[in-house]
C-alpha cells in the first residue's frame, strides 16, 4: 500500500501501547526477576550440589526423548492414513485426535490414572504413555499437513525405478518429510520436557520433571533461589531446542514442488482398505480409551457402581466429620469466573494487538513474537515469576482476584492473536484502496473495512481462550490461593486419593472438564467450517477435469 494511505502512526501507537505495557509488566518483568534470583552463587551451588537435582534433570531429559521418539514412530501411521486417504470417519478421527490434544494436562493425567492398572500408576511408563497419546495429534497435524501435499507421483517414480514400498518410504518419503519431522519432534520434545500436570498426577518421587521440581522447591520447600535456577535452566534448554530445530529445518528444507492443495483418494485395493481401516480404528481406540476409562471410573466407588461421586460432589468428607479443605462446587465457580475474566482480557488485548500487528510491519513483528513468548516459556515459569515479583507493596497483588485470570490470559492471548492476524492479513488491500477512492480517510477506511473482519476470529479465539483458562494448571498452581482453587487444582488433589469416593469425585470433575473442553473445541471447529463454506468467487478456479472430461 502507498504509505500516504497507511494508517497514521498515532493510531498504530495507540493500539500498540496497551499490549506492550501488559507484556512488559506481566511477562518480562517477572522473567527478569526470576533471572535475577537465579544468578546467585549460593543458589547455584546448592542446586547443582544436590544429587536430587541431577536425578530430576536426567529423568526429565530421558522421558522427553523416549516420549518424542515413540510419539513420532506411532504417529506416522495415522499421519499417513489421514494425509493420503479419504474415508468415512476421517474427519471424526481428526476431531478425536484434536480433542485429546486440547485436553487439559490434569485431565489427561487423571484419564491415564483411571485407565492403567494400579501396578503401572505412578511409573515412568504411565507418564510416557500419557505423553504419547496426548501428542499423537501433533504428528498427525504437523507431518500430515506436509504429507498430504507431497506429490504421490514422486513415490510412484521411485517405484517404477524398482524401489519396493519399504525402500520408497525410507529413501524418498522419509527424507522429504524430514523438515516436518524435525518440527514435530521439537514441538513434542518441548511439550514433554516441560510436562507438569501429567506428571503431578501420574508421577512419583522418582519421576519428577524439572517443572514439578520447580513447583515443589518453590511452594512446598520454600527454596525460591533453587527453584529459580531450575526455571532458568529449563528456559535455556527450551531456547536451545527451538534454536536447533529452526536451524536444522532450514538446512534440510528442499525446493520441492508441493501440490497446491491436499490430494487425497479413496483406498482402492483390498490391502489399502484394510490398512486404512486398521490404522484409523486403532488410533481412535487409543484416543478414546483413556477418556472412556475416566468417565467409567467416576461411577466406580468403593461400594460398587453408583452415581454417588456425581451427586455428592459438594460434600468432600474424608471421614464423617473430617472434611477435605476443598470444595469442588466452589472450584467450579472459581474456574468459570476466572475463565470469563481471562477470556475477556485475552480477547481485548488480543484484538488490539492483532490490529496493530496486521497494520504495521517491523514493530508489529516484534509485538507478535513478544506475545508468543509466554506460550514457549511454560506456564509454571510464568506463574512462578509472577508469584515472586508481585509480592511487595505497591505491587503486592498476590491477593488480587485478577492475578490468576491475567496469568491465564498471558497463555491464552497467543491463540487469539494467531486466529485474528491470519484473517486480518488475508483482507485484500484493494478493498481499503477502494474505500479511500470513495473518499474515506485511511483511518475511516480501516475502521469500515478491516475491523469488521475481526468478529469471527475473535469468537474462535474467545472459545480457545476459555478452554485454555479452564484447563490451566501450571500458573494456577502458583497463583491460586486457598479457597480460590480451580477445577484442575481440585482434580489433582482428589484423584490422588486411591480407591476412595474422593478419587471418584476427582474423575467426575475431570470428566466434566473434558466435556466442557470438547464442547468448546466443537464450537471452534464449526466456526472454522463456516469460514470454509464461503462460496467460491472465481469460476475459472474450477479444476479442468470437471469441465474437460469427455
Amino acid at each position: 500500500m502507498n504509505p500516504i494511505n497507511a494508517l497514521p502512526r498515532r493510531v498504530l501507537a495507540a493500539l500498540g501501547v496497551a499490549p506492550v505495557v501488559a507484556l512488559l509488566m506481566f511477562f518480562f518483568w517477572p522473567t527478569a526477576t526470576l533471572l535475577a534470583r537465579a544468578i546467585d552463587t549460593e543458589a547455584l551451588s546448592s542446586t547443582f550440589g544436590r544429587r536430587g537435582t541431577w536425578n530430576v534433570v536426567w529423568f526429565t531429559l530421558w522421558q522427553a526423548v523416549v516420549s518424542t521418539v515413540v510419539t513420532l514412530a506411532l504417529g506416522l501411521a495415522p499421519a499417513y492414513v489421514v494425509a493420503r486417504f479419504e474415508f468415512t470417519g476421517r474427519r471424526l478421527l481428526v476431531a478425536v485426535l484434536t480433542a485429546v490434544f486440547v485436553m487439559p494436562t490434569v485431565v489427561m493425567g487423571a484419564a491415564f490414572l483411571a485407565l492403567l492398572p494400579d501396578s503401572l500408576d505412578r511409573t515412568a511408563w504411565a507418564v510416557i504413555g500419557a505423553h504419547v497419546v496426548f501428542n499423537l495429534a501433533v504428528v498427525v497435524r504437523t507431518v500430515g499437513v506436509f504429507w498430504e501435499r507431497l506429490p504421490a507421483d514422486i513415490e510412484s517414480a521411485a517405484a517404477t525405478l524398482g524401489a519396493s514400498p519399504w525402500r520408497v518410504f525410507t529413501t524418498i518419503t522419509l527424507p522429504l518429510l524430514r523438515p516436518a519431522l524435525l518440527a514435530t519432534a521439537s514441538i513434542v520434545f518441548v511439550f514433554t520436557f516441560t510436562s507438569f500436570g501429567v506428571v503431578r498426577v501420574l508421577g512419583a518421587p522418582g519421576t519428577r520433571t524439572i517443572e514439578v521440581e520447580v513447583w515443589r522447591r518453590a511452594t512446598q520447600l520454600g527454596e525460591i533461589g533453587e527453584a529459580a535456577v531450575l526455571s532458568i535452566l529449563q528456559l535455556a534448554v527450551l531456547g536451545a531446542t527451538l534454536g536447533w530445530s529452526s536451524l536444522a529445518q532450514r538446512r534440510h528444507s528442499r525446493a520441492l514442488d508441493l501440490e497446491p492443495a491436499a490430494v487425497r483418494r479413496r483406498a482402492r485395493t483390498g490391502i489399502e482398505k484394510r490398512r486404512v481401516g486398521l490404522v484409523s480404528v486403532t488410533t481412535a481406540l487409543v484416543c478414546v480409551a483413556p477418556l472412556t476409562a475416566l468417565a467409567a471410573r467416576s461411577f466406580s466407588t468403593p461400594s460398587g457402581w453408583s452415581t454417588a461421586a456425581w451427586t455428592r460432589l459438594g460434600r468432600t468428607e474424608v471421614r464423617p466429620g473430617i472434611r477435605l479443605g476443598l470444595d469442588p462446587i466452589a472450584a467450579l465457580g472459581n474456574s468459570v469466573e476466572n475463565a470469563a475474566w481471562a477470556t475477556l482480557f485475552a480477547v481485548l488485548f488480543g484484538a488490539i494487538a492483532s490490529l496493530a500487528i496486521a497494520a504495521s510491519r517491523r514493530g508489529g513483528r516484534m509485538l507478535d513474537i513478544g506475545l508468543m513468548l509466554p506460550l514457549g516459556t511454560s506456564a509454571v515459569t510464568i506463574g512462578f515469576g509472577m508469584l515472586i515479583t508481585f509480592d511487595q507493596a505497591p505491587f503486592d497483588w498476590r491477593a488480587e482476584w485478577w492475578l490468576v485470570p491475567v496469568g491465564h490470559a498471558l497463555v491464552a492471548t497467543p491463540f487469539v492473536v494467531r486466529t485474528a492476524v491470519g484473517v486480518l492479513r488475508s483482507v485484500d488491500p484493494d478493498l481499503q484502496a477502494a474505500a479511500t477512492t470513495l473518499g474515506a480517510s485511511p483511518t475511516r477506511a480501516w475502521l469500515a473495512i478491516v475491523v469488521p473482519f475481526l468478529w469471527r476470529p475473535l469468537a474462535v479465539g474467545a472459545a480457545l481462550a476459555a478452554a485454555v483458562s479452564l484447563g490451566e494448571f501450571g500458573a494456577t498452581s502458583f497463583l491460586s490461593r486457598s479457597g480460590g482453587e480451580t477445577i484442575p487444582i481440585a482434580i489433582e488433589q482428589l484423584v490422588g486419593r486411591t480407591g476412595s469416593l474422593l478419587q471418584a469425585q476427582g474423575y467426575a470433575l475431570a470428566t466434566m472438564l473434558a466435556a466442557i473442553t470438547i464442547l468448546l473445541v466443537v464450537v471452534v471447529d464449526s466456526t472454522g467450517q463456516m469460514q470454509q463454506r464461503t462460496p467460491p468467487t472465481r469460476l475459472d478456479a474450477l479444476p479442468v477435469d470437471q469441465t474437460g472430461r469427455r
Binding site: D153, G162, I172, P175
Partner: protein, 212 residues
C-alpha cells in the same frame, strides 16, 4: 506375440468412470503415441500399465505373463513423469543412479553408469548438481536418463515434453526419438501434440478409439 497387452481394462474413481474396456497392444520395439483430449484417460492408462493404479477389471500382460497384480517395482517398466518427479533431496547423479541402487548395483559402478547416461543425454559433468538448479530442458534430460538407466523393456512417457518452448521441444523430441530407437525399447508416448507423436512414434492411436 505382442510384448505388451492391455486387455479390456476398466478404471473408475469414486463413481466417475475413466477407462471402460480399454485395450491396446504393442509389438516388441514398437513406439506408440497415445493421443487424446485432457481428461480422456491417457495418463490413467499409463498408470495402470506401470502398476501405480490397480484396474477395476481387465488385465495387463508383459511378454505373455499376466502382471496385473505385480507391484510396480517388480514390473521392470520405466516411466517418465509429466513433471519429471526428480528427487529433490538427491543430486543429479544420485537421481540417475537411483534405479541402479535399487537393483543392487555397487556404488562405484553406479556412479560410472550414471555419468555415462548423463553424457549420453548431453549433461556430462552435471552429476553433482542440485536438481533444483536445473533448467527445464536439463531436468527433462535427467528424467529420461534416470528411467533409461535401469534398462527397462517398456518405457512409458507421460507428456514428457509439455511445458517447454517450441524450439527446445522440437529438439528434445528428435533426441528422445533417436534414443528410444537406438535402445530398441517398447514405448508408449502420451501426448496431445500431433507433430511430437509423428516425430517419436511409429504408430499413432487415438484414445477415443481404444476406450469404450
Amino acid at each position: 506375440m505382442s510384448q505388451l497387452i492391455v486387455d479390456h481394462v476398466d478404471v473408475s474413481f469414486e463413481g466417475a468412470t475413466v477407462l471402460v474396456d480399454a485395450s491396446l497392444s504393442l509389438e516388441r520395439g514398437e513406439i506408440v503415441a497415445l493421443l487424446g483430449a485432457s481428461g480422456s484417460g491417457k495418463s490413467t492408462l499409463l498408470r495402470v500399465v506401470a502398476g501405480v493404479i490397480a484396474p477395476d477389471a481387465g488385465t495387463v500382460r508383459l511378454a505373455g505373463t499376466d502382471i496385473t497384480a505385480l507391484p510396480t517395482h517388480r514390473r521392470g517398466i520405466g516411466m517418465v513423469f509429466q513433471d519429471n518427479q526428480l528427487f529433490p533431496h538427491l543430486s543429479v547423479g544420485d537421481n540417475v543412479a537411483f534405479g541402479l541402487e535399487m537393483a543392487g548395483v555397487g556404488k562405484t559402478e553406479r556412479r560410472l553408469e550414471a555419468d555415462a547416461w548423463l553424457e549420453r543425454v548431453g549433461l556430462a559433468s552435471l552429476a553433482d548438481r542440485d536438481v533444483s538448479d536445473l533448467s527445464g530442458g536439463e531436468a527433462k534430460r535427467v528424467a529420461m536418463a534416470r528411467t533409461l538407466a535401469t534398462r527397462p523393456e517398456v518405457v512409458l512417457l507421460d507428456e514428457p515434453l509439455t511445458g517447454l518452448d517450441r524450439e527446445l521441444h522440437d529438439q528434445l523430441a528428435l533426441e528422445v526419438a533417436a534414443l528410444l530407437v537406438e535402445l530398441s525399447v517398447t514405448a508408449i508416448l502420451v501426448t496431445h501434440d500431433h507433430d511430437e507423436a509423428a516425430t517419436i512414434a511409429g504408430r499413432v492411436v487415438q484414445m477415443a478409439d481404444i476406450n469404450g
